[in-house]
């Protein structure tokens, strides 16, 4: 039995490519279901985060890499020719070592961020539901979790509470002198949005609006941080009042377009506005950064 890995990450592929191959939670389930019907594959997980898309699978074949990649292309209805150079493939020991490194957050874009272990666990749970974890893979994954915990407990990697959101908020210090007296609009109310809100609050931001498709979720998050929940449809009305706009939703299309940014700046009488897009696929239309007086991260 062999363990195979195919994937791409922030180290091998730009955001434009990563977002094309991204798996949402539903997609991951569909892909695992598809994988379970593939005769040569015994088990597998899909690890899809903002920074990486990786498929781990076990099988008796000597090489499953091409088959796994083919399944990804088929799933996203993409041609393989242009995307092959962005992928890496690893087998057995190399694949296990890579998984250990990923789960321990050593391979993350923000080294030490704790979210990745949860994401590996979620991927494991999803596959388990479909009976796609065999005994070999179970052992590998259990070992992965213990290695990741050991790395976190026995080194200083987890000393500082870092995440993409915290780094994004930290970056606002390069634009604004202080966040006191400033307002922010956060789109989304998932884990990344929550971390962003927490970091903004910690930096002393005056007012935060949280916009979400499900108003109740926004309201729940807003309540814990003394913020203001709004319906997602309302965000354009509030946007000109926000000095910082953070997009962290799971939406598959652009939520903020270049036109919206231009209108917002006009309404702000050209006062600078910072837009931070921490979602994959991106929620802010690429090229909006070209608008005058605006920084887009």
């Amino acid at each position: 039995m062999n363990l195979f890995l195919v994937g791409l990450s922030h180290k091998t592929a730009p955001i434009e490519i990563r977002e094309k191959l991204q798996f949402s939670n539903d997609h991951s389930m569909q892909y695992i279901e598809k994988l379970s019907k593939t005769p040569d594959v015994q088990s597998g997980i899909v690890l899809s985060t903002c920074n990486r898309v990786e498929i781990y699978a076990t099988g008796y074949e000597s090489d499953l890499h091409e088959k796994l990649k083919g399944c990804i292309y088929d799933f996203h209805q993409l041609g393989k020719d242009n995307l092959d150079p962005y992928f890496y493939s690893k087998t057995n020991e190399e694949a296990v070592r890579h998984l250990f490194s990923v789960a321990s957050s050593l391979d993350s874009i923000v080294v030490g961020e704790p979210q990745i272990l949860g994401q590996v666990k979620d991927a494991y749970d999803t596959s388990k539901k479909f009976g796609m974890i065999d005994s070999l893979f179970e052992q590998v994954l259990q070992k992965t979790f213990s290695v990741a915990k050991k790395v976190r407990n026995e080194t200083d990697i987890g000393k500082y509470a870092v995440s993409i959101s915290s780094v994004a908020v930290e970056l606002s210090g390069k634009i604004f002198d202080t966040l006191k007296g400033k307002n922010a609009l956060v789109l989304g109310s998932g884990e990344m949005a929550e971390l962003a809100v927490a970091n903004l609050k910690q930096k002393g931001i005056e007012k935060i609006w949280i916009a979400n498709r499900t108003f109740e979720t926004a309201a729940k998050l807003a309540k814990s941080f003394d913020a203001y929940p709004i319906y997602l449809e309302q965000f354009q009305e509030v946007m000109p009042q926000a000095d910082i706009v953070i997009a962290a939703t799971g939406m598959q299309s652009y939520l903020i377009t270049k036109d919206m940014v231009e209108k917002s700046l006009e309404a702000r009488n050209q006062q600078p506005q910072l837009f931070l897009d921490i979602s994959v696929p991106r929620n802010i239309q690429p090229g909006s950064g070209g608008c005058d007086q605006r920084i887009s991260i």
Binding site: D177, Q271, Q293, I297
Partner: protein, 144 residues
């Protein structure tokens, strides 16, 4: 007030004005470097500790306001001194023309900011282009 005292005041404001031009230029460049670093997600080691864009913007605007005020005093004292001490037509004097051009440059950048709402990149590029044009004109005037 005697002429000697006015001369001292005039010279002090020459130094202050030059310093403010230099600071405005440096901070404008820092602003553009910082903006470039952020937009390209790349921190150059030499410029990794630059102040925030907001602070740089504030400093440049303050320097421009102070510069315009300083140049105004410089011009008034200069005109007074020229009137008394220079017998020839001082309006054609190169020093006077340079001081006047610099004063117009300060006013022009302030006009861009406060009347036309220029901010960010556009504003700082305007400052640099204006200053470049000013320096080139001065050098040409000196050489002719």
């Amino acid at each position: 007030m005697d002429t000697g005292m006015i001369q001292h005041i005039h010279l002090a404001f020459v130094a202050i004005s030059l310093l403010l031009v230099f600071i405005s230029l440096s901070f404008s460049l820092f602003y553009l470097v910082q903006q470039w670093q952020l937009k390209h997600k790349r921190m150059l080691p030499l410029f990794s500790h630059l102040p925030s864009l907001e602070r740089l913007d504030k400093y440049v605007v303050r320097c421009l306001i102070l510069g315009a005020a300083s140049l105004s005093i410089l011009l008034v004292t200069g005109i007074y001194l020229a009137h008394i001490e220079w017998k020839s037509d001082w309006t054609q004097n190169k020093k006077f023309i340079v001081a006047l051009a610099t004063w117009i440059w300060f006013l022009f950048t302030l006009l861009l900011r406060f009347r036309l709402g220029y901010r960010g990149e556009k504003f700082f590029y305007s400052i640099l282009v204006g200053l470049g044009f000013l320096i080139a004109s001065c050098l040409m005037a000196w050489m002719v």
